[in-house]
Symmetry: C2
Subunit: 397 residues, 2 copies
Amino acid sequence: MRYAFAKRVRHLQSSAVRDILKVVGKGNVISFAGGMPDDELFPLDGVREAFENTFATGKKPLQYIETEGYLPLREVLVERMGRKGITNYDASEILLTTGSQQAIDLFSRVMFNKGDIILTENPTYLAALQVFESYEANIIPVDSDEDGMLADDLERKIKKYKPKCIYVVPTFSNPAGKVWSMERRRHLIQLAHKYHVMIFEDDPYGDIQFNMEETYTPIAALDDGTHVLYTSTFSKTVVPALRTGWIAGPHQIIRIMSQAKQANDLHSNSLSQQALYHMCQDFDLDGHIEKLRTVYQSRMEIMLEELEKADLPGLSYVVPKGGMFFWIQLDERIDTSELLNVAVKKGVAFVPGAPFYVGKDVQKNALRLNFTHATPEKLRKGMGLLTSVIKEHYLEV
Amino acid sequence: MRYAFAKRVRHLQSSAVRDILKVVGKGNVISFAGGMPDDELFPLDGVREAFENTFATGKKPLQYIETEGYLPLREVLVERMGRKGITNYDASEILLTTGSQQAIDLFSRVMFNKGDIILTENPTYLAALQVFESYEANIIPVDSDEDGMLADDLERKIKKYKPKCIYVVPTFSNPAGKVWSMERRRHLIQLAHKYHVMIFEDDPYGDIQFNMEETYTPIAALDDGTHVLYTSTFSKTVVPALRTGWIAGPHQIIRIMSQAKQANDLHSNSLSQQALYHMCQDFDLDGHIEKLRTVYQSRMEIMLEELEKADLPGLSYVVPKGGMFFWIQLDERIDTSELLNVAVKKGVAFVPGAPFYVGKDVQKNALRLNFTHATPEKLRKGMGLLTSVIKEHYLEV
């Protein structure tokens, strides 16, 4: 039988990240591809104890709950966001989701008609681009530098395109690994208020900060609770398998997103939400995050050392101040999508730059390297493999 | 700020089930409303042990997995569906979802353009109607009797409307609690092949069967693997909080649904999938389901006894052969939506019939009663309250 799919299916395709996760699953390849934390750093005992504490309260945690998610966990999140200066939202203005991916999807579902405009950085998170495209939104990239979107181009494009939303990953962005300056953050929120545009602030990596003497105020903390949706997740700081993220925002938007979520999946896994609540209460989550920062910073430094040692002509990059990624540009003649095939055969994987770009202005010589998943030994070995593959490739072009 | 939502938001609204779950959450009301299993019957020790067995395997179960879900659980489901005669699908043709609700949503997402036609029973599962409406599909009800959709009306409407899909809950339907006859099942699959229409078979309740001497073959077992999507869930047989359902179907459709799921939430809670795998291996799930059947049948019989005892004029119903619901009609002058307000004040809740209907042909005198959530004592007390509320209401109309 020939199946007739919906038109929106055209915009769905298996992502590079997904295909590469499959390669990685098969074993011998050292992967700098996915945005994965290191299994070895997972707080297994803490997670186990949190589940045990949940089971100890009886059978009620196993029943259906309300779509918005387990209320005590939402209350904990009010307090934890408050420490970052985000004080506009109470527990009723938080929706627990299946990872922050679902927050991006539900927001898009309630917000975008076909042809609605969304402004993004370029490059930006590829799975967000996939979602926006699946709702047939029109994505317009804004010119950026190391400090964030360029003020002039941003205002010009807001005026020209009248976007419904501006999607940003301002703190340790994916893939570029950069941090927006305070000035650019303030400017963005001013423009959002001036022109009545929503900001969607995606902050999965904010806690993985290396230099704790610097402060990167979330954009949601600069708002008055009317123009910003803020999403984050426990996937990077606790474990991914619990698939627990959240989104906070204006009451009216969160309420409609809850209705969309009810149609989508009724509610997310509530046993995990209850275990995460116990973890926030009984486990030293902040101490654990501190440990992750230290270990991941040291791994970033190993990768940096290997990059410096490799002495690749035409190489450029910004040293990440946090998060999980190095974003590097090679000599302009190198197409990293072609390079990936060779690299995987030699035993090392990464994500080529192209899928992170909107439109035609693609840097084919860029690639994203994750430094959190591999052990120091594998980091050195993998970087050795990668730099030798690049050097061989240089001779050919 | 005035927020501009997508047009599809018009079709989203808080459902009666959801509003009533909120009432129930507040305590003193005896609820026959939601499709909830009884907390007291949850296999807490089995669940706890399954998680413990998962944690005992180390840290890997806490990492990201592929979108389709934990492969060994999908392999167990191949075997379990095989016992029901569903043998067309291998593990690659199964997608693990966040409850079967997400399976309905993802299917609709990849299948329906605005205005596409879907045929349903009338009344039918209200949260499926909500999903179809949110994708702006056009829902056409087919006339039914106790044995399923009427053959003539079904064929006439297939020819007239050229539907993309026929949505059915053939075994212990929600809300009507009925079982399709074998003849009607065969007829449905014949028509699907003749006219090239997909069948979406929603089977959350199939395991809650009272008379094990009867056989209710799933429609998917009558197909050759080309025309049926089959969805079910662990929410009714194990526990709802794990939010684990699945969908099996033709490879091409499952593959595209996986891509939609990747955009929607990357993957469902994989720790729970692994615990459910251990439960299927180490816990006597079939013995547990046998126990649920016995207890739930005895509760259905208590409700039946109370209904008979009440001697309500104009009352009609079909005795359920399984599942979780009694579907009853009162005297035609009674509007059960109005009755609900009075009933809740007196301490008992149910779902009025109206939201389960498509179009204007609504039986306002119908209501759905769940018999699985309340204890026998509460069942008797709640039925006493309800029948006295109905009798008082009769005097007024």
